[in-house]
Symmetry: D3
């Protein structure tokens, strides 16, 4: 269960309204790596976590903080939209290029749809989607995704930091940058901890299948583009997290058969010249098992 | 420019058709971490890469291979659908529970829409989306996302491996598992290389802003959920990639003001009791600059 | 800022795992009227609310509770998935129709993607979208949408209640039904309060434009389908919230001109026979204003 | 079956082209509360309506009218785009700020994709989605959603009305405002009628479950945010549509167990320390019923 | 403006309910080539059509008919869902494999969301999208898309025809097949008419640019996959609609430069080794034009 | 399997950066008819193709070329973004209208998300979707869709050609126009070839059902809009591809029953007055078949 405090985690006070910047700042709310993503991603990871204790607690602490980050950004966007020329006409915009520049750079839905408030969308007006959430139940795979999400979040925040010189906005973004730093660091440390605790090895997952995978194909980079430097990186020939070094196949050869779809079911009306016979029949499961035998007896 | 060889990178021959498994295998084609995602993700990263040489070449080698993985999986799906009871009626399905189980587990669009072939969708029929692609121009942030994508791809492949005992399908998946292993290893090694080359430090990005971020907030986990073990992980008190250890704020206090949206523009008809005055006016840019001055002179 | 308590708002313990029901229950998490929608909808309404005090507090109280409802449902889904035959093969499913029925009714992504946990998707695997959120800044319009959302939420919960006889699941849903009842009632009462407080009249919005709208068209139902009973409802002839009764136009006549698109710009290559002349030119704003005059002087 | 008259329901003639306004007007065509939404929403409600007579006739009359509203708006958009500087280059736009403002405010797809015509998208270019349609079969829940949709439609129309001073556009919007008024009024009246007819009571739905829901939790607002005015509204202590007044729980206590996901299936490779045993097994339905018994006999 | 007749264009009466088939039939309502697509596609084409007379009339006649097709299919789906075991529990489904097969094959939202009615979604529950509509203003390009849409619509209808033996359903589908036939034929004939009328030539569009395109590249198939039969089709060497025959480049050579992204803006924090200098500056338009000159004078 | 050459198929070198044009050019990358669509569409058609030889080879040759077109366009976009005022503030944009026009016309995500590179999105920021792919297995239906896609691709390229006077950009687009011409021609020729080879007749598909469709309804245009010229086209009365001429029904009459949804399941809580009895019961398949008989014996 959750509780809410009206006070923001950190101040969100711009010096001056700036509706064009509000438009851009939506990326940090509803973008693929915005605060809605990390909030919901950590919540679902926490709710799906099977290990009580330090990992689950770290996840839930961070998840709960991120809801508050959405709140800070939503408040900031509303304040940046204060007094915006949202209802100015095209004629007014065309008569004064300065108004025109501001109107042209606004998100029109900030006026028409939300009436001056933030929305769960990104800087291009694309809505936040549940597909942005990564929560697999495997903590190592998920923490790698978390570290990547915080890296992209911090990168986008840094870019947006350069696009304003409003002291109030910059003050808040300095806080956001710092939180992205610690969250990124904590997920990288937690990745080490998972391995130290013997819960998950690298590479992810699952090592139990190492014996079954084609081990001969598990350490070779295939050279399939004509750049000549792919084998000059430190990644070739030095030990990897699971021991064996990576090798380089300079002239790779396709190992498979000629890819061709099988003969089709005539009732599906796919184009077919009959050259390769009729489709195999029947599919797995439609002819065998106790039910098949039973049906014979009953009919 | 690209060229194509009809031979598959590795054989994709099931022992027997299995339309229910074909439905599930779609996740590896069009899912958020399917082969379409890594293929397109690496292509856009490669095309946007500003560093000629080993990094770009590694990205393009891998990107090109992944297009071939979509091809292998698409071929496998078509072969698993051969002879499927796709056109059987509900009456037939109800009369024979074995047929019913197969029909109920199929993707109906595999019959109605694609006529027995693979589609660019996931295991729930959701279409592949350009939003799955991560390509920021920052190689460290992108390689972290790549390592995470390969981790999830290998995890999902491992789960799907357990859901079949068809020797032909398993043979191909053993190859896929191995390729996911080497790709995961290579991105982790390339992350080290970027730092060794002095191109990007950890944490991502950009360190140039470390002096500006709120450094006091850059290393503290805030305790906002009531689990008591969040400070018992190795992540507290030990050095991090950028030096300072992470601390733990057991009783955090909100530092911001009370979050409230500002007075609204009356023409937007937001509900408002007037208690907090009229909106600030005008917004940034609508009153200043040479154009403002110019307009005064002209009118 | 938000805080989290590990204890659920209400118990979420099924008597027995039921992965087919978990599939259906996803509708209440990530569906258009699921708990994610009401949680985020109320949060954005609260953050955008311009009226400090009772309305904002009611919104934030309810918003915060709804995050906890997502938590309860996510926990319930994970528990319903315990021990599911998620990794059984098609052969196993076909050999035992009971297993087949369970596997056929599961969401395959509950195994492949989330590894036994809930996801931010609906009962058809479609992801939750920011487009489900309604937050306009106008409290009357928003509270009507809230009442409708709670009505649909309660209706869907009631339908799902009928689809299980698991006592633990039903116990939780009885709590959810009750919460949907009170939330629905509170929004209906708050609609009355807004009007009693003189903040918003009915119909929504804004009454300030009543004098400008075509008042002659503001109270007439047009008879455009051939059913004969459209004028037999109590809605015809009796007073409405804004006074005048609704009338019925039995034989409506189109009042507009013939709808036809204007002559096209030749460079856009739309098909055109030239019969209606050249396009009007230029568009609003491209010929007038101080800049137009200025440009003349400078060139 | 439908028939079409070339004459528009009401005139859609702008005084002058205005491509920037055409961009904004798309919200009323393809937005979440645009005319496509109400048209399709009412059509699906009408087609799914189980009550022949006045309700179904009112729905179908209104649905049919709304198709004509999409037509009016699409015609208006095409006319607003006449003579737009759609094919002007960036150089031209930069050389003349007035042209620049118009080009910057246009939807680029109005030139590239539709060649000067309207599209089924909103003011941010997001396509209309079937998810915007609400049609549950329960008329009370649906009519509440209809009233909310008309409220938001009228609100957005009123905002757009303020963003133009073109007399022709305003003339059409005055008609649209009026139609939104009567439709909003009619759904509110029809909600009363449903209750007067004894078909549906408030709150929605279904009252048959009132005895089963947790009645102790059906009338209490939980205080979960720290605003202090949530109990000062008229909604506390006064009778509600279903009788009992709403109460206020000032210091609510979580009633559930600690939310934790159950032990996972090892083959799904979720991270787990084994501390809570193996997963329950088997799931509902995979061990019982006549087929289970039968299988025993046959094998 | 539109009018509606309660009578369906053609009868939609199944002999017997079949909820599994209703699930599949959704593809013809809300799929990419379903009736909603052709209805809305033709409506937008008609509203955007610049040529009054026979073309516009044909488009509007067909568009209006297609709305009635959505109606027929929606009615059929509701009737196929009558008496469905929609509220049966998993226990009931597992105890009776026949019920299990039906429940497993249903769309769960047909019970939970629509309460027994059709929805604007496809056979996998994906919502209809405005992106399915093709309306470019160029009638030749649009009519080709229309012919393709009717071809796919008829193909899917034919596949669905094979999946039922219900005489009532088949009767309606025989009507739908026939309508798809005539619509397909009419668009193919209208393509000829456009050319006969001299309004649009083949290939689409626009021929006015033939002199500017790289004519040397306008008739050659490049051999980029290793299949050896690409030059054995009748398409090589015989006249084409615009005269010149298609040739075959057996060993094509890339004609471009090495693709590499340019030096990045340092403030965007893309990874860059500086090897290729600083970014070009400034971009088009930011240094020239009357405003640039003016700014110099004013400052 | 695929291989990659670093050299582009054709040069992609703009004379000068132009970030506003880069924004528009995204339509050709990630739009509904952009290069990603044709690349993936042809790949899936090729992988699903059942006819080895000339058709499959033509498809794979073209598919492989189109991946290279995405590469050319992505490179062009990155180069057009070089030195863009991406990190300029609103204040700077407002102070200099020329900068303002450029900033207002840019895609903000080109700075915030991709850091100066192309993205898999269209000119409105909507992501590329798997739903854009058409691949049915029926080559005639697919080739018609291919011809339409190339027509729209060429049309959009021609429109974009008019929106720039940059010689480098125009040089590349002249190549693209030419490739769209030959691809369009080749699909039109391949449509003829399919018929010449006797593999598929017109109209698509499948002719095997001609005897079963309502032949009386297969050649008549229904007059449902009031335009009077629908019967004046050459499409009326002249032979069609399958022989019989199209006729015109000037005063069509609905042939079906009154469309009304059947009585609902009470547990789904749809509004119903009981006037039409109880729902039919049970649905197809839930009462018959060997399992029904078997269940009787066992219980």
């Amino acid at each position: 269960m959750f509780r809410h405090t009206s006070q923001l985690q950190y101040a969100a006070k711009p010096d001056k309204p700036d509706p064009v910047y509000a438009h851009k700042l939506q990326e940090l709310i509803g973008g693929a790596f915005g605060e809605m993503t990390v909030a919901l991603q950590y919540l679902f990871q926490g709710w799906n976590c099977r290990v009580p204790g330090k990992y689950k607690d770290l996840i839930m602490d961070t998840a709960t903080e991120e809801i508050g980050h959405v709140e800070m950004l939503a408040t900031m966007v509303a304040r940046l939209l204060e007094g915006a020329p949202a209802t100015a006409t095209t004629k007014a915009a065309a008569a004064d290029p300065v108004v025109g520049a501001v109107l042209g750079g606004m998100d029109p839905q900030h006026a028409i749809v939300s009436g001056g408030g933030a929305m769960p969308i990104d800087a291009n007006g694309y809505p936040w989607s549940g597909k942005f959430v990564v929560a697999s139940g495997n903590l190592l795979a998920d923490f790698q995704a978390n570290a990547a999400a915080e890296a992209h979040g911090r990168l986008q925040t840094a870019r947006l930091y350069q696009m304003t010189d409003d002291a109030g906005v910059r003050d808040m973004l300095q806080f956001n940058l710092a939180r992205d730093t610690v969250h990124q660091l904590q997920w990288l440390k937690a990745i080490e901890e998972l391995q130290a605790d013997g819960l998950e090895p690298t590479p992810v997952a699952p090592n139990a299948l190492f014996d079954e995978e084609k081990t001969g194909d598990a350490h070779a980079v295939w050279h399939l583009s004509d750049g000549q430097a792919g084998d000059q990186g430190g990644w070739i020939g030095t030990p990897t997290p699971n021991g064996d070094p990576i090798t380089y196949v300079a002239e790779p050869v396709a190992q498979g058969d000629t890819g061709i779809a099988p003969p089709p079911d005539p009732k599906l009306y796919a184009t077919y010249d009959g050259s390769r016979g009729a489709p195999a029949s029947p599919a797995l499961g439609t002819e065998t098992g106790p039910m098949g035998k039973l049906k014979d007896k009953l009919t």
